[in-house]
């Protein structure tokens, strides 16, 4: 398994997602690829950051910020 998927999985284990967002463990994605298609904004936002930092082509801070905030502003 790619490192980025391991990193994503570590983040998705955080109790906040279960307690506050009420996501069930079994419905959470296991790969960045899968998470990028998630209908849950926070999951997709995390996936965007992981892809941006540990993906095949890392992005700069402004690009990362644009990608994440633009997605969230539109999705919410």
């Amino acid at each position: 398994m790619a490192r980025k998927d391991d990193i994503l999985k570590s983040f998705l284990k955080h109790e906040l997602l279960e307690n506050k967002y009420e996501f069930k463990k079994e419905e959470l994605p296991t790969t960045v690829r899968e998470a990028l298609h998630s209908d849950k904004p926070i999951i997709k936002a995390i996936a965007l950051i992981v892809e941006g930092l540990d993906g095949t082509s890392p992005v700069t801070d402004p690009v990362l910020r644009n990608q994440v905030t633009q997605f969230l502003n539109e999705a919410l």
């Binding site: 955080h14 994440v68 905030t69 919410l76």
Partner: protein, 716 residues
């Protein structure tokens, strides 16, 4: 990776060519002090890390002496390594040219690399690149240790960062916590900008922003204070411990210190109970009013007088009212309390008719003038006629005599003053009692202070009975008491700063919530939602990073304790505990030996050394797991505090561990008193090892003449 061979040519005491054909497991190199052990270690260190400065200082004096002026020879350290079935040779060398009798010039050093594949084909490669590839620099740092002091790698603040970078996946999470904070801050800014467009709350919003900034600054300031104080406490405790090391009767000192601490705590508790703020009683509890009692008396008398007059008037009024009421009742009683007929029955006309005719037509009997029935009818007619006249001047029957009850209020006031006065008079007793209480406590404190002085002078006596010289002793003594005072003060500071930080945090939380409320009503909702999600993402990133960090530390701790227990089998050791501590700008890990959750009291050097070695073995094991490869470890005199028996036990135990190890020790050698000749003790036969060497100076030699020095390598 295995070091198969180390060859040292003309490097200091290693004259000409000297080869160490090493084994895969435990290699022990024996040697007396000054006969070549440390020079072996330094030669390998030079190969790995050496610089090009002062190369002439590394030249073998014996070789230089034998060389003709103008002639050259090579100084060389070479290592043959086996990794993944391939052999590599890395050689670092320079040329020394004899210029004068005892002088030489040197070339720059060169590092050559030779790679040999499984079929024996050799290729020349960049030596430095080859070295860094097969034995990375960061791992080399945790592979070579000189003496016992160097074993404590956590003395260095950078050690942790290096370890994390090398062996923990925690390093991948650093950038996430940074970026999480960056994204959240940008989202906060967007919300703030949007909120500021709403002019309604502009002033309040700006004020809150200012207050939050101020509180954040205060928080940082107090955090720095707290961390600095904690560091100071630690230092003072270390100083005290260090001073206590010199003291012969350590147990008695510990007991005394406990007692002194106890007395100081009792004094501090008693001091806290003394309340000499008498002005509180005087002003807050109104004792001052006790002198105004005569005014109250005058007031109370007046109130009482008016009250009496009022009651008299009221009584008269009630009496009059009662008479009328009484008449009504009397009439009613006449009729056996039967409800009388209305006044107009029989009617006025009928009544007049009956009176005129002197006949009662209701009961049908005569009613002559003056007779009882006639008088009855006349009275009844009169009552009727009276009831028809409205006297405007007559007061309403229900209207009270006094419309407003001012006197009642005055009465209450007077009673309340009376109660207050009663309490005020008691304050005199209370203050008296307080004086007595405070005096008693002061006496208690005096007794305790005397006791404290006695205990302290007892402590000075014990400190006086110490192992250091008189001059240094007076310093230690002076400092010791000052440190104890400092420790007490710093502990109080620590409590104060923690309390202040807690209050700042709750104030900050309240202000932020207030600001959030304005945001919710002023800023665009999608910006708020984005910010809230990015806040959560930041939390997730930071928590995950810390979790990974803690997991790594725990793993290191478990592994270290496994080795520690093995090295000190059947002995009481305590437990190695790794604690994460935040310093001003960084996180460090402190390693401590504990017993039952408390610091181990004065562990001896041998225990400390075995703790440090255990941690190094744990790191080495981690390196093997992470890099899926073993790396060698080289220790120069790591067990000098162990003693021969424990060293033997230790060697037998590490023989079992997996990595290649090269240990340079001075144990198991015997010098014959008469002949001064050296030999290896019989006990060494019982030490389990894979290979052993003995480095010894070629005899005879002149200790004052380097030209006679040549370390020989004997494979045992």
């Amino acid at each position: 990776m295995i070091i198969r061979k180390i060859q040292i040519d003309n490097y200091l005491c290693y004259y000409d060519t000297n080869a160490f054909e090493l084994s895969e497991g435990l290699n022990i190199i024996l040697g007396e002090n000054g006969e070549g052990k440390t020079k072996f270690f330094e030669a390998v260190d030079w190969l790995f890390n050496g610089e090009s400065r002062e190369l002439d200082m590394l030249v073998s004096a014996k070789k230089l002496n034998e060389t003709e002026i103008g002639e050259s020879f090579r100084v060389r350290v070479s290592m043959t390594v086996e990794q993944y079935g391939e052999k590599s040779i890395i050689t670092k060398s320079f040329l020394a040219k004899k210029e004068k009798a005892n002088e030489c010039s040197t070339s720059s050093f060169m590092i050559e690399g030779i790679s040999e594949n499984s079929s024996g084909e050799r290729t020349q490669v960049d030596g430095q690149a080859l070295l860094d590839r097969i034995f990375p620099y960061q791992i080399r740092k945790y592979s070579m240790f000189k003496g016992e002091a160097e074993l404590n790698i956590f003395e260095s603040d950078s050690a942790l960062t290096n370890l994390i970078n090398l062996f923990s996946e925690a390093k991948h999470y650093d950038k996430y916590s940074e970026k999480g904070t960056f994204l959240k801050e940008k989202a906060e800014k967007a919300v703030e900008d949007s909120s500021k467009l709403d002019k309604k709350n502009e002033a309040l919003y700006r004020r809150l922003e200012g207050e939050i900034l101020q509180l954040e600054r205060e928080k940082v300031k107090y955090n720095v204070h707290l961390i600095t104080t904690e560091e100071e406490i630690k230092k003072i405790e270390e100083n005290l411990q260090e001073a206590e090391r010199h003291v012969s009767n350590a147990d008695a000192l510990e007991t005394l210190n406990k007692r002194i601490k106890e007395i100081e705590e009792r004094i501090s508790n008693l001091t806290a109970r003394i309340d000499e703020n008498y002005t509180t009683s005087l002003f807050d509890e109104n004792w001052i009013l006790v002198n105004f009692e005569s005014f109250h008396k005058e007031f109370a008398e007046k109130v009482s007088k008016y009250s009496k007059t009022k009651r008299e008037l009221q009584s008269e009024f009630d009496k009059q009212k009662g008479i009328k009421e009484g008449e009504k009742r009397a009439k009613a009683e006449l009729l056996n309390n039967a409800i009388p007929l209305p006044n107009n029955v029989p009617s006025k006309a009928v009544m007049e008719e009956m009176l005129n005719e002197e006949i009662c037509k209701v009961c049908n009997r005569e009613a002559k003038i003056g007779s009882e029935p006639y008088e009855f009818m006349m009275k009844r007619l009169k009552t009727y006629l009276e009831s028809q006249v409205i006297e405007e001047s007559e007061p309403n029957k229900d209207e009270p005599l006094f419309k407003f009850d001012y006197l009642n209020r005055l009465d209450n006031l007077s009673i309340s003053h009376e109660d207050n006065l009663k309490n005020l008079r008691l304050i005199r007793t209370k203050i008296k009692e307080l004086f007595k209480f405070n005096d008693d406590r002061k006496k208690d404190i005096e007794v305790l202070s005397e006791q404290l002085e006695k205990e302290k002078s007892e402590r000075d006596k014990i400190l006086g009975n110490s192992s250091i010289g008189a001059e240094k002793l007076s310093d230690v003594l002076k400092n010791y008491n000052a440190w104890q005072r400092d420790l007490k003060n710093r502990n109080q500071d620590q409590v104060d700063y923690t309390t202040k930080l807690r209050s700042l945090e709750s104030e900050l939380k309240a202000k932020k919530e207030e600001k959030d409320k304005i945001d919710t009503s002023s800023a665009n909702s999608f910006l708020i939602k984005t910010r809230n999600i990015l806040r959560d993402i930041e939390t997730i990133f930071i928590d995950t990073k810390e979790k990974k960090f803690d997991e790594f530390i725990e793993k290191l701790q478990t592994k270290s304790n496994n080795f520690f227990k093995t090295i000190n089998i059947d002995a009481f050791t305590g437990t190695i505990v790794f604690t994460r501590r935040n310093k001003v700008n960084r996180t460090i890990v402190e390693v401590e030996l504990q017993e039952d959750g408390r610091p181990f009291y004065k562990p001896n050097q041998s225990l400390l050394t075995s703790m440090h070695i255990s941690i190094l073995f744990a790191i080495s094991e981690l390196a093997s797991e992470i890099k899926e490869e073993n790396f060698p470890m080289i220790f120069d005199a790591p067990t000098s505090s162990f003693g021969e028996n424990k060293t033997a036990q230790f060697l037998n135990l590490i023989y079992e561990t997996e990595n290649q190890k090269i240990l340079l020790i001075k144990d198991f050698l015997h010098t014959a008193k008469a002949t001064k000749s050296l030999s290896i003790k019989k006990e060494f036969e019982n030490v389990r090892r894979d290979k052993a060497f003995w480095v010894k100076l070629e005899r005879p030699f002149d200790p004052n003449n380097l030209k006679t020095i040549n370390s020989q390598v004997i494979t045992l």
